[in-house]
């Protein structure tokens, strides 16, 4: 309980710090919205050229895009700023985090929660809900549960990817933008039906790394469509469980990484 109060205090500190830069916060809020809007517009533009992409209609594709947008932005809002870890490691400022009586990861999350991404999250959820409506989903209790769990599972999965790629900085200070290939690359991958990708690429990203289970499989289950790639129907309902091993791996790498922290001189 006391610990929750401590994290709330950290979050409050962040909110008050931002209040001293009100205009720039408003601008960031809007410019942040832009990137997610653009992702959705891209899907519309694509379907101007053709009625079906990879065997899916615009409405069906939008469900995957919306599911990805809601899940990814939620993850980005909560743990996306962990990407700054490489800055803390490089400058040795992680020291001040380590001397406090709180765990490192939640501290970093709450110290610097990017509230400017809130508007973007609202838009992502809007696209997801709108896609559920236009697809005339045949609702059953299981499907309703899946509709709620799927974006949360996607968020947890992307969150694990954020933590995992950020942890690289403990070993490799110049990890730079390599992590972005998996976070932002993963988001772009899951925004479309995976049927559009070539075999080997799909094999690696969708199945080996698990991105195919983030939005494509749950969307099939929600749409009541059989998988053209041959996975059974229950796979869609089980898909959100992919975030469990993802979190376990991320937590393990993080723990080992923090022991590797070297700080800097003086």
């Amino acid at each position: 309980m006391g610990e929750l109060r401590a994290y709330a205090a950290l979050l409050g500190g962040k909110a008050r710090s931002m209040a001293s830069y009100r205009t720039s916060f408003a601008i960031e809020l809007l410019s942040n919205l832009g990137s997610t809007v653009l992702d959705v517009v891209t899907v519309f533009v694509l379907y101007r050229a053709t009625a079906r992409v990879g065997g899916f209609t615009l409405a069906e594709s939008l469900l995957m895009t919306g599911l990805t947008a809601a899940g990814f932005v939620l993850a980005d809002l909560v743990v996306g700023n962990i990407d700054d870890l490489k800055r803390y490691v490089r400058a040795g400022t992680l020291d001040t985090v380590l001397i406090r009586p709180l765990r490192v990861l939640p501290q970093l999350i709450f110290m610097d929660l990017p509230l400017r991404k809130l508007l973007r999250l609202a838009f992502g959820i809007f696209v997801y809900v709108a896609a559920l409506v236009v697809n005339h989903v045949h609702w059953t209790p299981t499907r309703l549960t899946l509709a709620v769990v799927a974006p949360i599972g996607a968020a947890v999965f992307f969150g694990a990817i954020f933590v995992l790629t950020a942890s690289l900085a403990f070993w490799w200070v110049e990890s730079g933008e390599m992590g972005a290939a998996f976070t932002y690359g993963g988001r772009d991958f899951t925004s479309y039906p995976i049927t559009i990708y070539s075999d080997w690429f799909r094999g690696v990203f969708a199945y080996a790394l698990g991105f195919g289970l983030v939005s494509y499989q749950p969307a099939l289950a929600l749409l009541d469509r059989a998988d053209p790639l041959g996975l059974p129907a229950w796979a869609g309902y089980a898909a959100p469980l992919v975030s469990v091993p993802a979190v376990a791996i991320a937590a393990l790498v993080w723990r080992i990484g923090i022991r590797h922290y070297r700080s800097t001189g003086s």
Partner: protein, 316 residues
Amino acid sequence: MIRMQDLRKDFTVRVKAGRLRREKRTVPAVDGVSLTIEPGEMVGYIGPNGAGKSTTLKMLTGVLAPTSGEVSVFGLTPVPQRTRLALRIGVVFGQRSQLWWDLPLRESFRLLRHIYRVPAAEHEARLRRCRDLLDLDAFLDTPVRQLSLGQRMRGELTAALLHGPGVLFLDEPTIGLDVVSKQAVRSFLAELGATGDVTLVLTTHDLADIERLCHRLVVIDHGRVVHDGTIDALHARYGSRRSLVVDLDRPLASGFALPGATLVAAEAEGHRVTFALDSASAGEAVAALVAAASVRDLSVVEPDIEDVVARLYASA
């Protein structure tokens, strides 16, 4: 209370070997340090840049995991018991701030109260004391980013003490401060140490900090302890002596000898002479001089600790 047993920290660095090849090399930053510090002690940790002072402090606070050896503070092992230990120690890094950059100083203190879960009354009492001793009131409502370095450091000291730690670790607390701020920090720490409630461990390059604050001096070089004892013991060990500078009306008779002292310099055609005091006290030497010669003026010069330490670094 603080125990280090054969503590080591190795860093792996990659050095260029040829055009593309890079070789891994292991560099010991702390190379087998064993020390015990008792409650209420004030210990100064000095050494040249890169000697391993900060690395040791970081292992004591749980920031870095040791490569080998044992370390315990309050019976806790800093890694993995970091968060439990953090509640009982205070840390000030002279070159890192733990305050909220964009918030008034007062807000940082309020946030720290929640982070360390300090009851309001205790927090108030400790803050009151720091406000009085460190003159914080004038800038308590100023955002940290607008504070001068001296003001900020006074804020950092307060931040490290609000949860009532039993040990305060200070990594170069006076670095970059002007003379007045240095004095303020030193007299605050002296007062804090005098209560005996807080054990102080500080690293510094400014030996005046040590002379003012620390009874015990630990000199570290290349990751090893090269001296552990009082400042007087350091002087005794390296043969640094007080000296007596005397102005005379007439030069001393040739062959004059002062028992227990050595003539080390004669200037102004013998009108100013300097004796190093070996075994004689200043009083004995002055008495002998006044009896033997016509003394116009004299002064006793303390040995310069900077010189001693410079010699120590060079020999280590």
